[in-house]
Symmetry: C2
Subunit: 259 residues, 2 copies
DNA sequence: TAATAAATGTCGTTT
DNA sequence: AAACGACGTTTATTA
């Protein structure tokens, strides 16, 4: 262990040395990384057996465990936060049991060989911001149509999100049919053409006037000219703004519920 | 790098050294672990920003990426298999971009400080066996009622899985009403009492004889006596066996489909 | 390629 | 505690 870092990193440690470091690391709520040959057994809602092979085990201070093979996005085995641990040294290797009493789930990992052991003291207080997806922008406009423009009335069925290809369809304050295409990134010429395609579909079987509005945080360079020539409109709106509106609406509905 | 192991492990490497090792490791399809202070930006179906903090980045040979904070089960940011990489050394640190062109998703990780770097060559060919859950055992008996006993006929609606509290209900070869309670683990006294509860519910509004069968891989010690005194029955059956039956059935139905 | 269903889904909120 | 819905769901299966 290097002084000042508070972390332990061992390459090809003996099982005995690894055992001590892992047990110590877990009890002190450090983040433990183990890489090497292991077998894994899970018993709970289902049960599983993973024959020996080289994987990475990640043990977090909050009691979550992840066993990762050198492929695939999801862990092959895992245990959610709140797990308890028992570490032991056995004849077949270093054994770590992660279990949740309440859920009656047990995860057993047995390392017969360890190529890397790291006990890290990770400090992570950084904020995580998740901005809304296009779907959320759609929902925001449906619950607060003035985000598009005053007087807009979307056609809504029971469900807040309409199926189909057109993001939103409705009528404006003058009862003019209005088709809305939403992009969460600067709208390109492609986005304009996409909207035009929907416009064509409606214009073909209707002689009524139809408005087409492209909603996006901004309009990309080449798109502006095309938009104007096709007599389409642009409404600037950011996913962030939509996220705020949705959040406020949810808080409001909660307030209404309690009053 | 230790000869014979084919792996690189560096503690507190310089960003320059880390850059070379990471770029090399990714291009050679090794498993790369990075731990240290980083910021993460994601842009795709949604967008996210993760302010600086200490995390673990896992880059797999199949092109999947996982960014793990020292808490929580799911990764805070990720990229599924098939991602492409661009690694670069910038003024603000070691930058790794994982992107998927088709899905138009980009993940950017920038390490300003690295406490651990590991480039591993994990060999993992071990088989993974997932045995059935209780629900799967239920389905196995419904598609192959002889698993319970010859002549058993479960009441089945359109769907193979019946809703409700009783696992399976049906009639035996003599047309006697039969209630089945399934446990995927050794059945305890509680399981016996649970079955008895369902029996009582049926006995109360019916004078017909009713059989109660407890299905489980084995009968726990204390349960055997209770079972006998309540005149209930036990049928040994393992989740593994059910999984095999289901697999065979699926293969058969596939064969029938093609002939 | 698109639609559907399952997952040891997980994780939150609401009842 | 149970139920319901969302998720950058992911994943496999099927039309």
């Amino acid at each position: 262990m290097r002084p000042g870092t508070g972390q332990i990193i061992m390459e090809q440690p003996s099982l005995e040395a690894a055992f001590k470091a892992v047990r110590n690391g877990i009890s002190r709520h450090k983040t433990v990384i183990l890489a090497g040959n292991c077998r894994v057994d899970y018993e709970g809602r289902a049960s599983s057996k993973l024959d020996p092979g080289e994987r990475i085990a990640l043990i977090k201070p909050d009691g979550s465990v992840l066993i990762h093979r050198p492929r695939d996005y999801p862990p092959v085995n895992w245990q959610p936060p709140g797990s308890l641990f028992k570490t032991s040294l056995r004849v077949d290797g270093l054994h770590v049991r992660a279990f949740r009493k309440k859920e009656r789930e047990v995860l057993d990992v047995t390392f017969s060989e360890i190529s890397l052991l790291a006990v890290l003291d990770l400090k992570d207080t950084g904020e995580f911001y998740l901005y809304a997806s296009e779907k959320d922008m759609q929902e925001a406009i449906l619950v607060e149509p003035s985000l598009l423009e005053e007087g807009f009335k979307p056609f809504t069925s029971e469900r807040p999100v309409e199926p189909g290809f057109i993001d939103i369809i409705g009528v404006d304050r003058d009862n003019v049919l209005t088709i809305v295409e939403i992009k969460r990134k600067p709208a390109t010429r492609d986005a304009v053409l996409q909207l035009q395609k929907y416009m064509d579909a409606y214009a073909s079987d209707s002689s009524r006037r139809v408005r087409g509005i492209l909603v996006a945080p901004e309009l990309a360079r080449g798109a502006q000219k095309l938009l104007a020539s096709l007599r389409l409109e642009f409404k600037p709106l950011t996913p962030q703004r939509c996220a705020e509106v949705l959040k406020r609406k949810r808080e409001k509905s909660l307030t209404d519920f309690f009053k």
